[in-house]
Symmetry: C2
Subunit: 114 residues, 2 copies
């Protein structure tokens, strides 16, 4: 097992590292939306059910710090903020896409319609 340190946190597998970066309830849904176009903060918020300001801004900040997305503040009145995906962020899209396809497969096995 790999086992390595980053920012004082111990990781045991590369998969664990992936989830440290794009895991949790909202990061993949956010990246998935951003793959095609730029979104404003308020649009993302309306778009994802049950997503609070706290989680949205926390997740956007982390994705930004980790280089998966860009942020542009447009000084209009009131202010507008636009989020877009980076090249690094785009590299996560095939992974999310595969997880989606596999999810649909598991759902089908379990008799879940969508």
């Amino acid at each position: 097992m790999p086992q390595f340190l980053k920012d004082n946190k111990k990781y045991y597998t590369p998969v664990e590292y992936v989830f440290a970066k794009i895991g949790g309830t909202y990061k993949m849904p956010l990246l998935w939306r951003l793959k095609d176009k730029t979104w404003r903060y308020s649009e993302l918020k309306e778009s994802i059910a049950h997503l609070s300001d706290r989680m949205l801004s926390k997740n956007l900040k982390e994705l930004l710090n980790d280089g998966f997305i860009n942020k542009e503040v447009i000084p209009e009145v009131p202010v507008r903020t636009e989020y877009s995906i980076t090249e690094k962020g785009m590299n996560s899209i095939p992974i999310i896409s595969m997880l989606r396809d596999y999810g649909f497969e598991l759902m089908k096995d379990d008799g879940i319609k969508h």
Copy 2:
């Protein structure tokens, strides 16, 4: 967004469904080990760092109930239990493999050696 129910739990995306089945700290490491050969309970326990009996038997039970693995109890003295992967379990291996590769890629970007 899909949004569906299974066993009284609400899901919003197929990806979420994947993690309900093979997410958490230990399920992918377990499936990854079982892909090549049969393992006994005690071997799995020794093999994964910091894995407690509680988490090991809980995760094995869930993987078993969800059809990802098989269990065979061999009535020797003392008892021996062998876990193996099912065909359904094998279908998760390409996903885990892709996540591993992507993890190595992210680690490389961040200057982590393994």
